[in-house]
């Protein structure tokens, strides 16, 4: 491995820290270096509040040049750096490192350029996802990836996590909608990745940066693709009296040649919770509902609606509703988009899981989740991006009950392991962060994990960027004792496991 031999020990003595903080102040100004405990608390966690830590300081640069200077200083003094956008991440990716600084990109919040003929927008990392779409709406354009947190999450974090959303079956993930990045390396150099054209020679570092969870570099500028807004979008709300039938209906829609803009599924506990909360008009007695959205030109959508209705009723839908207006379409979606807070109302706490499976395994995994839920004595409400096999089981628990969070985490881990055994993965769109680091040992062999560490070292030989996240050390895997699952086969599969 690429070991840097000139490493100096960081000076974290009171005098050393004082000097360090003063140097940060010289770069970003006094009001943008936070070091007092009460100033640090708002940054102690991201959207996964179960993990908390305070950094040495929070540094808030305003420009890419300031980011470069901060990084040069940290590199020189060997100070670890954790980058943070809006802090909406769900895997603890922006959890501070106690012996390092938290670099907030929130002040880099400008839309630099909107270029309609080339259908791109150049934005700083702190720009909110939804703000891009709002800024180009009057041009008839939009930015496609729409994670549920789009009102708050920022585009830099979207790149770092390769965020998805409810429309990625048709329009792709963040990685499919970004053409160029400016990135600051750990050494404080500004590099450009990707380009103004569609193809760039060399290794696809643009793809590599997506989902790299702040371990390879600091994103300081993002050029996103804009799409013409579809003329028409219509949503179908289909009810089913059993979950497996709904799962099969998903397969039927897709294998008959329809590519829905969104294809979402909710089970009964989720339906009840959201109906109580937002009154979306969901059938509360249904075992499952599907929301199937079709978009495109008027003619296209018209012909697809007829086909989709036909397929869904043949697949056993007990009720079909077609949105008659934009208002009604928004209403259908309001329940799905508010599913997490709705579940938050019926339970003191909930824990969101993010596994992905091949769609044909949907029935099996639901049975397994149900079994695990009973075994652990914790209820689970299910919300799925059914079209792309991405599950979000929400485990309901009470953090004030001793040991309940530990049991919840263990149950979550088991669900993820079941996803890997089903041929899927431990995270579809939320990232590994600190949360799923043990399950990485189940998904990858030690040779593969070693390769990940070598990739990291190619960018950051001293391991200063977001230490301890995303890729577990081999020692950690040995301690965790999880077994690597290959092609859905556990080693010694004939041994019974419960």
């Amino acid at each position: 491995m690429n070991i840097d031999t000139k490493v100096i020990e960081p000076d974290l003595s009171p005098v050393g820290l004082k000097g360090l903080f003063e140097s940060f102040v010289d770069i970003v100004g006094e009001s943008h270096v936070l070091t007092e405990k009460e100033q640090l608390y708002p940054y102690e966690c991201d959207g996964l509040s179960a993990y908390k830590a305070l950094p040495l300081a929070v540094v808030l640069p305003a420009t890419a040049e300031e980011v470069c200077e901060v990084m040069r200083l940290c590199h020189k003094q060997n100070i670890p750096v954790v980058a943070r956008g809006a802090g909406t991440g769900l895997s603890g990716g922006a959890l501070p490192y106690e012996q390092g600084i938290l670099l907030s990109l929130a002040r880099l919040n400008q839309i630099i350029n909107i270029d309609p003929p080339n259908r791109v927008a150049v934005v700083q990392p702190g720009v909110r996802n939804l703000a891009i779409t709002e800024a180009v709406a009057d041009l008839g354009l939009y930015y496609a990836p729409d994670p549920s947190s789009q009102i708050a999450c920022s585009i830099g974090g979207n790149v770092a996590e390769n965020s998805g959303g409810v429309h990625c079956l048709k329009y792709g993930l963040t990685v499919h909608n970004v053409i160029h990045l400016k990135v600051v390396t750990i050494e404080g150099e500004l590099i450009e990745i990707g380009g103004g054209g569609l193809d760039t020679p060399g290794y696809d570092l643009l793809a590599l940066m997506h989902g790299s969870e702040g371990l390879l570099g600091i994103i300081v500028e993002v050029t996103v693709k804009l799409l013409p807004k579809p003329d028409v979008a219509v949503a179908i709300l289909a009810s089913f009296d059993d979950v497996e039938t709904a799962g099969n209906a998903v397969a039927d829609v897709i294998s008959r040649g329809i590519l829905p803009a969104g294809l979402e599924m909710m089970d009964n506990p989720s339906i009840r919770a959201t109906e109580d909360f937002v009154k979306a008009g969901y059938p509360i007695d249904a075992a499952a509902i599907l929301i199937c959205e079709l978009d495109g030109t008027e003619q296209e959508v018209k012909s697809q609606i007829i086909l989709a209705k036909d397929i869904l009723s043949q697949a056993g839908a007990t009720e079909l509703r077609i949105s008659e207006s934009e208002q009604e379409r928004a209403k259908f979606w309001s329940g799905r988009k508010n599913a997490f807070p709705a579940v938050g109302r019926i339970s003191p706490d909930y824990y969101c899981i993010d596994g992905t499976i091949p769609k044909r395994e949907l029935g099996n995994i639901l049975v397994e989740i149900d079994r695990l839920s009973t075994e652990y004595g914790l209820s689970v409400a299910n919300v799925f991006h059914a079209g792309d096999g991405n599950l979000h089981p929400l485990i309901l628990y009470d953090a004030n009950v001793d040991g309940e969070f530990a049991r919840t985490e263990e149950l979550g881990g088991k669900i993820l392991e079941a996803c890997v055994i089903a041929g899927g993965t431990i995270t579809g769109e939320h990232g590994v962060g600190i949360e799923k680091i043990n399950q990485m040992c189940v998904q990858f062999s030690s040779l593969e994990l070693e390769q990940f560490h070598r990739i990291k070292a190619a960018f950051d030989p001293r391991g200063l960027l977001n230490p301890g996240k995303a890729i577990p050390t081999l020692t950690r895997c040995a301690e965790f004792g999880g077994m690597h699952v290959h092609d859905g086969n556990l080693p010694f599969a004939d041994i019974e496991r419960f």
Partner: protein, 349 residues
């Protein structure tokens, strides 16, 4: 068995510092810098491993012929939406991924890397590694699968890969307009801002060809809106994709210039062909290389010497020093002995 043998071969080559020239269908030998080293063919490692139309996912071995994959998908009205070129009938999917070349539909549906979900490969140590998976969404670990796309075999010997596939559009139709290059860019840019179901564009010899794809109704409506003359050449797009179009004949150096779609037109080269809604411009020319790099850079893009000319030169241009350093370190991390297709992409990589 094949994999075990291949691992032994690579381990032996690593120990003895033998450079390997990875081959399969050999339809893209002309691409990149001149190949060197001992030939290592993976062509025999072929076949569709898994294909379930309802999953929209296909898993194939690297030596599988592209035409076989295309026909298996077509039986279910599905396709690989990046429309990779078939420079010869022997083109295999491993080469498609290694070269990362996409066809005329690319600006509207995406590139090879956009549809790769997972890969298996043998690295330069002879280790068998798997990244990504067979599911649509996967953010566990770095995206090594997409990193290998377009890496010209320099990071690993690709054995197997999974792709997302899509339903084939119901129908397509092509029309053309007589117009200059400048006018054609204006016109196609304007169309790009609407919801027309565009799926390809071509400007050559003062004609702009535009293809629409989608449902019967959407294409009919689109044709009504854009007008133009119906193009009756059913093979036009295939000829463009596979470079059998007459523009690509001849031995003069062929430059591939990737720029923002709306970039100003340049009077460089002897002949020019434009596709991808203006963002891919091909030039035939025997002129000094620098002109194409200069033009591309000025527009915010890049130029590569795609075919013919001096194949021992920097055909892919030069990397920024920091990017060059990262490239070298990445290469070393996968292939510490520098034995996998050395120099095929860049001189010292």
């Amino acid at each position: 068995m094949f994999i075990k043998q291949l691992q032994e071969t690579v381990k032996d080559a690593f120990a003895k510092k033998i450079e390997l020239d990875i081959q399969s269908g050999n339809s893209k030998r002309f691409l990149g810098r001149t190949p060197k080293g001992a030939a290592l063919s993976i062509a025999q490692y072929s076949g569709i491993v898994e294909y379930d139309p309802a999953e929209l996912v296909i898993t194939v071995k690297a030596g599988t012929a592209l035409r076989d994959i295309n026909s298996a998908l077509a039986k279910n009205n599905q396709y690989l939406p990046f429309d990779a070129p078939n420079f010869s009938n022997e083109s295999t999917i491993g080469g498609v991924v290694a070269a990362g070349l996409s066809g005329p539909i690319r600006p509207w549906t995406g590139s090879v890397r956009d549809y790769v979900l997972g890969i298996e490969c043998i690295d330069g140590r002879g280790d068998h590694l798997r990244f990504g998976g067979r599911v649509m969404k996967n953010v566990a670990g770095y995206d090594v699968s997409r990193l290998t796309v377009g890496s010209m075999g320099t990071l690993g010997i690709i054995l197997q890969m999974s792709f997302k596939v899509l339903p084939k559009p119901e129908t397509s139709a092509t029309v053309y307009f007589d117009c200059s290059q400048v006018k054609s860019i204006e016109k196609i840019t304007q169309m790009g801002l609407t919801s027309l179901p565009l799926s390809a564009s071509l400007w050559v010899a003062n004609k702009l060809f535009v293809r629409l794809s989608g449902s019967q109704a959407a294409v009919a409506k689109g044709l009504e809106i854009i007008g133009g003359n119906r193009c009756l050449d059913n093979d036009l797009w295939q000829k463009l994709r596979d470079h059998t179009h007459s523009f690509f004949h001849g031995e003069s150096p062929l430059w591939r210039v990737s720029v923002p779609a709306n970039s100003a037109v340049a009077e460089i080269g002897d002949e020019c062909l434009v596709e991808w809604g203006g963002s891919l411009r091909w030039y035939k020319s025997s002129q000094q290389n620098e002109k194409f790099h200069e033009y591309a850079q000025k527009c915010g893009g890049n130029a590569i010497l795609f075919r013919n000319g001096d194949r021992s030169s920097d055909v892919n241009g030069k990397l920024h020093p920091v990017l060059g350093r990262i490239h070298k370190q990445l290469k070393k991390s996968f292939d510490p002995g520098n034995i996998l297709n050395p120099g095929r992409m860049y001189k010292d990589l």
